[in-house]
Symmetry: C2
Subunit: 248 residues, 2 copies
DNA sequence: AAATCCTATTTGTCCTACAAATATAATTTT
DNA sequence: AAAATTATATTTGTAGGACAAATAGGATTT
């Protein structure tokens, strides 16, 4: 087992080899992985190196390990690693805008799936959420209601991965609202043009199972973001600076 | 620094503390992180534990480290961790279908962004791809062309994260085509209904900057998947089994 | 002032040791 | 003989020491 660490570290190398083995052998969830000492001998590295590599896979949920019982391949939650990376403060403005774009696209794009799946009870639930939304005027609770509404929609789409993904994006959205100074301008601009489509305006399309109407309504509902993204892409600057304060 | 490892391992605990610190202090890319020994002392754990935790963050791109220069926070590629987890053989059928659904939704949903951004040169490029596609009849190259076309579309959307995401999904799509026995049925069913929309059928809508038409065309282009997803969600079985062969 | 060398620091790797958990084998009890 | 108990061995989790490689920063020489 030579060809060690061509460029990166031994840990990177071992990690890639283990992943490669799992993929190439088409190992399924439950398949056993050799213990740490065996792997260390096989790859001719120290046990620490193997442990670091395995620790990474363990974090992603690719493997599981329990004392004395050894390690097995496991089915990861595909969004688990993603979550740790979604820190708006470390992401570039560009990446954040890209994520915004994905959220908007997903919501518009899943229209036909939503319409196909939605039941009358689902619609009743949505109406309830909207009713609460209208009753309370507080801005902060508004965000919670916004979330409740969209979560319900994704749940109708019957897509847990998408639900997880979009749930992780909520803090990113919040961050844009609170920290991107130029965003508020767009918010007010769109308001002035009175193109605002609220949740309650969307519901009729769901009731009529009108895919195109629903799609247009959602698009208008998310208009602010679409405009903001379009505008930002032109400028395409970075809003990211380094900082060397003492944090720990 | 008590409250050690309530439930998980020390490594999990330290990992979460470091991530927490980075988030709560709003540390930006470039901010310095204490060295391994300091962290070990701070959290009252061995250096190995700290190293494993840091190794995980390093893998995700959350931090970078160079000998003697210490470690700094860095901007991760948000899709880097995702990539390692996307092994169709370990994912459940349900998750794979969810991913299919996301791909389809993204492609339909980014229509307005695409139409807004696309230039005449982009359209010429797409025509070139389609021309090649028509010239060659081989199935295998077809997949490459399929990829080239969609990659170009996402590139027009000017969204690198989405491009990365969908690029990672390509092997998953391939897997569905090759390994989900019931998928071929749908393929042929849709073909029989002659609802097939090819890439060349899509291009006119782009030329006319017709968002709705484009959206419908893309939806039809991906009809197989929509139907397949809808059908599978009804059954919602698992197609995942354990396997204990010797792989290493 | 510039170039060179030296030293201290920090990450990367290897190693040994032991605790905790637990699967398996050995022993005792019924 | 079967069941329950105990003992043993194995494997992961953690700690800590040692050293190599790289290199930032200071000391020395040119």
């Amino acid at each position: 087992m030579n060809n060690k660490a061509k460029n990166g570290t031994l840990v990177d190398w071992v990690e890639s080899l283990i992943i490669k083995t799992i993929k190439e052998n088409e190992m399924k969830s439950g398949a056993e992985i050799p213990n740490e000492m065996e792997l260390a001998e096989k790859y001719e590295v120290g046990r620490n190196v193997v442990r670091e590599a395995l620790s990474r896979l363990r974090m992603l949920g690719i493997i599981e390990s329990r004392t004395r019982r050894g390690m097995v391949v496991s089915e990861p939650n595909v969004m688990y690693g993603f979550q740790k990376v979604l820190n708006p403060h470390t992401l570039s403005r560009e990446t954040i805008l890209n994520l915004l774009g994905m959220r908007v696209s997903l919501e518009i794009g899943c229209a036909s799936i939503v319409i196909n799946n939605i039941t009358d009870e689902d619609i009743e639930e949505l109406k309830l959420i909207v009713a609460k939304e209208n009753a309370i005027k507080s801005q902060k609770i508004d965000i919670e209601m916004e979330r409740a509404f969209h979560t319900k929609i994704y749940r109708v789409a019957n897509n847990q991965v998408m639900l997880d993904f979009l749930d992780l994006l909520i803090p990113v959205f919040k961050f844009v609202n609170e920290n991107f100074e130029d965003f508020d301008k767009f918010n007010q601009l769109v308001k002035r043009q009175s193109r605002i489509v609220r949740h309650k305006d969307i519901i009729p399309y769901l009731e009529n199972r009108d895919i195109k109407g629903y799609q247009l309504a959602v698009e208008d509902h998310l208009r602010v973001y679409l405009e903001y993204i379009a505008d930002s892409q032109k400028k395409n600057k970075r809003q990211n600076h380094t900082d060397k304060k003492l944090h720990f």
